[in-house]
Subunit: 454 residues, 2 copies
């Protein structure tokens, strides 16, 4: 039991704050530690702080809480820093998306590239990457030995940027790989019997191995596709985020030769995403996570969680643990700290520089791979070769788009911003791309982005 | 003076046959040699053979000529094999292009990818790549020690395929780099005073160095763009193939940071090619080489040359040298044989496997680079790094498309054919891509292509 200081930047976020706080409270190995909550929104910060203190007290967790709106303060003496913040929040991204749709960019300027997942940030992500880099620069000054656990998207672009531009210990974490549970359930397997290896880039990972009690799950998937998939899809009523056994996932498997998992199924090429009707065909009645329906439901869910958190926070008579039961989330974020701090070895799904783990990917590109984590830190499993088709049609094109995003972010070269959009399947004419760039840069919250791109 | 056997496959081609024959006749170092002319078109073969014999006799060149319609015969005892053949000829490509245009693929299914140059062959090039490989297989049987000088396009795809799939000595040759002369002329320089280094992939080469009597030509180009380009373009009346100082070339230079040369200026992204009006804006009144006007002029020029060759061939009273004066062409094709056979060292612009010449390009990808050629063979100049923007926005995307073309050609996987078209900026809906593929495969001359793609 070692006392450390854990900072959460963007602690007011609906998706992450409570999950992290619950898991911290339920991890005895970290008791005695200080959890520093930081957010730019005072109201949310106060609310989360209120919930955190009450939660800890209810489960008798020995944790100290601090709250601050000052980044420098939260970073002081920090050992671990979660960056969960989305610059400008979903509100700004929705505004940006609307501007882009006006110019024919269905689902926004960043729902593009090899896939059409909403959080690509290739063009419109300036503010977010700027925030990532600002946090890193401040950590280099204030807590250069701390771990930066990059939780907010884009994890692939962000972690590659951060590991190239700073000397900090950086790891990116996501939960998309947990989609294997959905595959297991649909196949009638107990997820606890299943082992797997998922490899690639964040939001672009592929099942290089998939077993259940020693049997090859791929054989079962093949059988399911052959004999049961059609009937399954006819009766299918998925939630918007349930896409692991969608027609899109199966089509990607057929095309690229490996099964995609988690957020990976959201991508796979614009042929699944060209309009709502197409999305519905591939992702079920809501058109999946990244349709106007699915994304609307997601934002609505976020609002509902937030409302509930405020409600509980405003009602001191409720038990927080009654509303948010004391069960570990299954996320890796807190266990990985426990593993490092207390030398509790475990295998985690991490985003770190490749350094030879996947053949044919440069060393300084961040990949998502399994790694052994313990007191020594994070040591990647060497994965080796991915199939050639997957490399040529998925991995390398995706990597190029990441490189374009970082290059244009670092150089501020507007010509290159234009060149990226010219590679967007929705760009019909060069003037359309010019116009959308101008309109995005003219948004009030993109002022520093507009100053940057010349 | 060493006697060798030089075979020309596709000797009836308008673009290459006479050029090669003239240069062979005018290269004394190769006298005593046998030139074997091979073509599947008897009429053209007889005509070229007639011209070749008369030409040699008029300039008193000591060369023996053979003609054959049998590939095995021309390859027997060959030391050098030129492959100049275009499977199915321009006629078939025009038919294929029309089918593609019906489906919204302006200028044809292969005028796509990073650029819109006509001879990309990514999808429709099956017959051509098949021919390349068939020739190579036969050479391995019949003349495994001969040099294969790949002259027909696609040189980039073809040479990468051949050097991976066979153990032959393969080199690809082109003449696009001679475009430096046009740049020099426009700048008012004597091309004989100019030195340069052009590096990249075939049809995608960039001036990494450009000097005139020790002065940097880039400085002069910058000055020309600043002060003279607008006036020049206003008065500009280029031939369809004169594009080296076009607005497109200058725009590519501004975007990617290096000056493109030769066929490279035909590419550079679809923003220059989206329709005829756009092509005219960037390439002058005819819309450049790859517009319906420019390409029509080119095919017409080929027909005119062919007619003239037949006319001279049918008139034994004409001096062939009067019609086709005995001046060396300036092409590298024959001099490179002279260099190898007679150890006459020279620097040539060749297409050979990278093997470390350009950083960041895999060893087994064919690059276009300068090389020292002499009795030892071909030894590449190690070029080093290209600028990052050029690598990310031009070289790597172009390389990926080459890899897609070879993979789909080798695997016959129709899904991947589809995936390539989904990356085409002109594909609006997946059904459009499916339909054009079916129609292309249904063409009578694509029967073996249709059998291959399943």
């Amino acid at each position: 039991m070692t006392a450390v200081k854990i900072s959460i930047i963007g602690a007011g976020s609906a998706s992450w704050s409570l999950t992290l706080i619950k898991d911290l409270c339920l991890t005895k190995g970290l008791w005695g530690s200080t959890v520093s909550l930081m957010d730019v929104n005072k109201e949310r910060l106060d609310m989360v702080d209120n919930l955190a203190r009450r939660y800890a007290s209810e489960v008798k967790a020995d944790l100290k809480f601090e709250k601050t709106m000052d980044r420098g303060e939260t970073l002081t003496d920090a050992n671990f820093v979660f960056n969960t913040a989305l610059a400008g929040g979903h509100e700004n991204y929705e505004i940006q998306r609307k501007v882009a749709e006006k110019h024919g960019y269905y689902r926004g300027i960043d729902s593009v590239d090899h896939n059409m997942v909403s959080d690509y940030h290739t063009i419109g992500g300036y503010n977010q990457l700027r925030l990532f880099l600002d946090v890193a620069r401040e950590m280099e000054e204030i807590c250069p030995d701390a771990w930066l656990i990059q939780t907010a998207n884009p994890v692939f672009e962000g972690c590659t940027l951060l590991t190239r531009e700073s000397k900090l210990k950086v790891v990116g974490l996501c939960h998309g790989h947990l989609g294997y549970k959905e595959v297991a359930s649909v196949l009638g397997l107990d997820p606890r019997d299943v082992t797997f290896q998922a490899v690639g880039f964040n939001h672009c990972i592929w099942m290089t191995d998939f077993r259940c009690k020693g049997e090859n799950v791929y054989t079962m998937i093949d059988d399911w596709i052959e004999n049961k998939a059609e009937a399954f899809w006819r009766a299918w009523r998925p939630k918007y985020h349930e896409m692991d056994m969608s027609p899109a996932a199966v089509d990607m498997y057929k095309t690229f030769g490996m099964f995609p998992i988690g957020d990976t199924t959201r991508s796979g090429g614009w042929k699944y995403h060209v309009d709502l009707k197409t999305k519905k065909r591939w992702y079920g009645p809501f058109g999946g996570f990244d349709s106007e329906i699915g994304w609307g439901m997601y934002l609505n869910d976020l609002r509902k969680i937030m409302d509930r958190m405020f409600r509980v926070s405003n009602d001191p008579t409720t038990f927080v643990t009654k509303e948010f039961p004391p069960v570990k989330s299954g996320e890796q974020h807190v266990p990985i700290i426990d593993a490092i701090v207390n030398d509790k070895e475990g295998t985690f799904q991490v985003n770190i520089p490749n350094n030879g783990a996947i053949e044919g990917i440069p060393d300084d590109v961040v990949v998502e791979i399994p790694a052994i984590v313990n007191g020594r830190g994070i040591q990647a499993v060497r994965v080796g070769k991915l199939p050639r088709t997957l490399m040529l049609h998925v991995m390398l094109p995706r990597m190029l788009r990441m490189e374009w995003a970082l290059e244009v972010f670092l150089t501020g070269d507007k010509n290159l911003l234009m060149d990226i959009l010219l590679n967007d399947p929705r760009t019909r004419r060069p003037e359309q791309a010019e116009a959308v760039i101008e309109d995005i840069l003219a948004l009030p919250f993109n002022k520093s982005m507009a100053d940057h791109y010349r």
